[in-house]
């Protein structure tokens, strides 16, 4: 009868689990740290991931995938997203703003997005209190 060394086997299995967990969580870890508005948000929100995530810093800089991006580049990206959308799943944008940033920066961004045909957007919030 073959004597299987269980300790080494568990060791290798855990290594594999940790590897796969790290690689699958990588997308989440790339989020920029931003002081989001404190609101409970929509409790019955769709689980569907937004097609595009734009971070808006307190200084008015726009970040896509944590890289500072100009409004014209965002407009180009959104336009190609809108052109490629299917009717069942319209292109939507998640905006993660710093809560102290001025509305003027959000307005400029939304004007550009509206020009490309984006109609739906979501504002990211956090609920530090946990209540409604």
């Amino acid at each position: 009868m073959i004597d299987v060394d269980l300790t080494s086997m568990i060791d290798v299995v855990f290594q594999l689990i940790i590897f796969f967990m790290f690689t699958s969580q990588f997308g989440e870890l790339r989020r920029t740290e931003i002081d989001l508005p404190h609101q409970p948000g929509d409790q019955i929100e769709a689980r569907q991931e937004p097609a595009m995530i734009i971070d808006l810093t307190n200084e008015g800089a726009y970040l896509v995938e944590s890289i500072e991006t100009t409004l014209s580049e965002i407009e180009r990206l959104a336009r190609s997203g809108v052109l490629g959308q299917n009717p069942q799943d319209p292109f939507d944008v998640l905006i993660r703003p710093d809560r102290n940033a001025s509305a003027v920066h959000l307005d400029r961004l939304l004007m550009k997005l509206a020009n490309t045909g984006v109609q739906r957007w979501k504002l990211a919030t956090v609920n530090p209190g946990g209540g409604q």
């Binding site: 300790t7 080494s8 568990i10 060791d11 855990f14 290594q15 689990i17 940790i18 967990m21 790290f22 969580q25 989440e28 989020r31 989001l36 508005p37 404190h38 609101q39 409970p40 948000g41 929509d42 409790q43 929100e45 808006l56 939507d92 998640l94 993660r96 703003p97 710093d98 809560r99 102290n100 940033a101 001025s102 509305a103 003027v104 920066h105 959000l106 307005d107 400029r108 961004l109 939304l110 004007m111 997005l113 509206a114 020009n115 984006v118 109609q119 739906r120 957007w121 979501k122 504002l123 990211a124 919030t125 956090v126 609920n127 530090p128 409604q132």
Partner: protein
């Protein structure tokens, strides 16, 4: 006496045979596993809305009865709906609850208003039962 002594010797011999290096290895792996799976980041929520431009077929006057205009009064934002001006979410919600829900609500803000005030208005509209919530960005430079 001699029997007890031989028993304890046998036990320590068995304990000594435990592969401690591998055991510590597995314990550390378990520790790393739980650290990786623990979620330290705050859960993010979303407030859905649509975007409307005033040049896009909807004039400000069309929306007038159901427009929340956010302005600054000193360093505090205020929410103006026609003749009514309120300063907090609870008051805004109670004003919005008395309005018809079908036409939806539009939110406009002055350029210097912090985005937290826009989030507050969207949240109040959502809590008051408005499914159609739109934000009208100002095109003023």
């Amino acid at each position: 006496m001699s029997r007890t002594g031989s028993k304890s010797k046998r036990r320590s011999a068995r304990l000594g045979a435990l592969p401690l290096t591998s055991m510590i290895d597995v314990v550390f792996l378990l520790l790393i596993f739980f650290l990786v799976t623990a979620n330290f980041a705050q859960d993010e929520h979303k407030l859905p809305a649509t975007v409307q431009t005033e040049g896009g077929g909807v004039r400000s006057s069309d929306l007038q009865p159901q427009v929340i205009q956010i302005k600054m009064q000193g360093d505090q934002p205020i929410f103006v709906m026609g003749e009514v001006a309120v300063g907090d979410r609870a008051s805004l919600e109670s004003v919005l609850k008395n309005l018809p829900k079908d036409p939806g609500v539009a939110i406009k803000s002055d350029p210097e208003v912090p985005i937290s005030a826009i989030a507050l208005a969207l949240q109040a509209a959502r809590n008051a039962g408005f499914d159609k919530r739109s934000y009208v960005p100002s095109d003023g430079q």
